[in-house]
Symmetry: C2
């Protein structure tokens, strides 16, 4: 149920001492082919971490043979030394992998330019290369065809559970791992995600499938409105299944994995006590629906109300009012968990009918302007969020 | 030091039973002339409360003889009945004031169209008119030339202190009252503000002075990024001083009062433990500086870091990276309380040198792109903010 479920991949996760806790912090995912096509989506943040700048260059070549990931440090806002460190990490990874071939296989033909790098952790500090590079050695030695879960463990930061997913199709599959927890925001929720498939697909097909999938999954979750410097979603194809799905088939399977991982990210977001779906209906356009959903999802007064089990639809309308979406204030309907407490922009069913005792909350907003819709997933704003983000530097 | 400091104004505040606490909740500010010119700025929220829709119409006439304000209910998202209630409140206020003349003065010539209405409190519920209208009677009877502080008391919601301010000039003055506390956001912080002056000024001069003043004061504070449905800033001129300052002189004095009140609002924002100035320098344009300041001020990870006394400049850079302002990531400098912990987009002085033990925090961001700047004032995101906005419906 992870990145090593599709054939042609090995993975590992080891503890290299980057995390003070001693937990695993260096992961490797290796594509053993026969194909090495890849696609990626990166953070929209203009302040990009060194590994993002590096991996963007790697992806231009269209080939990714390995991904090295570390937690315990974001290597963002680290200047030219930070970029040199990322480059050195890729060089070292390639060199180690050239020396360690798969049992019974030919030595890997791999250069630094085939190695994507992902980092996550505190911004603004250089990585301890004296720990990271030996960690890469250990991770390379630990590579295994069932190593996906260990890689998922090693990229966790404030995540409380590892995230793995798989979509099985007839003769081929898509698998994935993710880390998230904080800094989850629109235009790529903050996270590192590696998705693998044993389907055979060229770069254009992979790119189309990945962009279509992330647009309706990772781009529609928002935990705290804060966009990270390190967001990366990688899709690697090994072709080991000898199957070549259509772009529609591949998109559908990649979307299934992305949706699964995105929901796991929201479910495990820092301090969350609620898992909230903001369903916008009746919008004049999909972009209107997405805008309204994101603004409501990002509103601190709405989020604190849900933490307090308060079906405060007035705050929801006040948030909708700050958007540029087509709507008339006196036509909007709002339901919370199926109870239409606001009709035509004013109070309707009694708020006491709304049951907010459970973890899952669905807010339905009908703009009554058209036929389009979108759903944004978010969390509440709790004491635990404030605690996690104030008590520790991260 | 309040709205009744300028000559020609009376004010009052009484308890009408709108607040469960029994505290004062209805206020009146009356302009006794000889002039009745006025200007106003209203919320940019497209979901506007009934009193905002009403007062916008009143201001089109250019004359405001009285302002009736209530806490204990926002009268927002209340449909056509809510608007009828606001209209009835203005009619009732005018009728009562016609019957109660100033001692020794002629009866007031006042109609409902001369009465601005402001409301604040929970969204989505109708006001208890059977309590509000008798409250207006009591407030009219209580009108006094030193009643400003009582009016300031009566408009408080989660405010912990009343807000009053004055700017004294040679022979004339400007005074003001304000309420704020939650829902403080750009494009008019959420609040009700009444400003008075005994200067003589036509509507155009008042409008120019008020817009110039609010642009650099109330528009540059942001407590929680949430824009209200009820924001109103009114400026009333009585002309009782017989002085006619230039538009520059009036703008300067109105700005002084607005700045004073805006700082009081931020100082008393819900749950705030820090009073934070985000000073943006070196911007290519003022709008770039304002955008960067607002985005940093609104970032939950930055706000929780300050609550935790953590000089987390990485989160500040990550926030700057989400703007469209002109900047290069590797040229930005950031200081916290005067310590330049980030230079050229990377770590510089040791973060341990930053003293965050006090309440006041200054973040200086130098984009090094030009000569423009702006300062946005904000607060931290604390446990108390979450508590105030989750434990009670507001």
């Amino acid at each position: 149920m992870t990145v090593t479920h599709p054939r042609g991949f090995r993975a590992s996760g080891v503890a290299a001492g980057l995390k003070a806790s001693g937990n695993a912090d260096v992961a490797l995912v290796v594509n053993d082919g026969p194909d090495y096509t890849a696609a990626a989506v990166f953070t929209g943040n203009r302040v990009k971490a060194a590994p993002v700048l590096w991996s963007q260059q790697v992806l231009k070549g269209g080939i990714v043979r390995a991904v090295v990931l570390n937690s315990g440090g974001a290597n963002a806002c680290t200047g030219s030394q930070g970029f040199r460190d990322t480059h050195a990490t890729a060089e070292h990874t390639a060199a180690v992998l050239r020396g360690i071939s798969k049992p019974g296989a030919k030595p890997m033909m791999i250069g630094a330019g085939d190695v994507a790098v992902c980092s996550t952790g505190l911004i603004g500090e250089l990585l301890p290369m004296d720990k990271l590079l030996p960690g890469v050695n250990a991770a390379a030695k630990a590579l295994a065809a069932d190593g996906g879960p260990k890689a998922a463990d090693a990229i966790m930061t404030t995540d409380t559970v590892a995230k793995n997913a798989v979509a099985q199709r007839d003769g081929w599959s898509v698998g994935g791992i993710a880390k998230g927890a904080g800094m989850l925001a629109p235009a790529l929720a903050t996270m590192l995600v590696v998705i693998t498939t044993d389907a055979s697909a060229d770069n254009e097909v992979l790119d189309a499938a990945l962009r279509a999938a992330t647009r309706v999954t990772f781009d529609r979750i928002d935990a705290d409105g804060c966009m990270s410097t390190n967001d990366t979603v990688l899709l690697l194809a090994s072709g080991a299944s000898n199957r070549q799905p259509t772009v529609e088939e591949l998109t559908e399977a990649v979307t299934e994995v992305c949706h699964d991982l995105a929901q796991q990210l929201i479910a495990d977001a820092e301090g969350a006590t609620k898992h909230i779906a903001i369903e916008v209906r009746g919008a004049a356009s999909e972009s209107d629906a997405v805008q309204v959903g994101r603004v409501v999802a990002g509103n601190n007064l709405v989020k604190t109300a849900f933490f307090g089990n308060d079906p405060n639809w007035g705050r929801i309308l006040a948030a909708v009012g700050t958007t540029s979406a087509a709507f008339e204030p006196d036509r909007i309907d709002v339901a919370i968990n199926g109870v239409w407490i606001c009709k035509g922009g004013a109070a309707a069913e009694d708020r006491s009918k709304v049951d907010l005792s459970g973890r899952d909350v669905t807010v339905t907003i009908n703009l009554r302007e058209g036929e389009m819709g979108a759903t944004i997933w978010t969390t509440d704003l709790s004491h635990a969020y404030v605690h996690e983000n104030s008590a520790y530097s991260s």
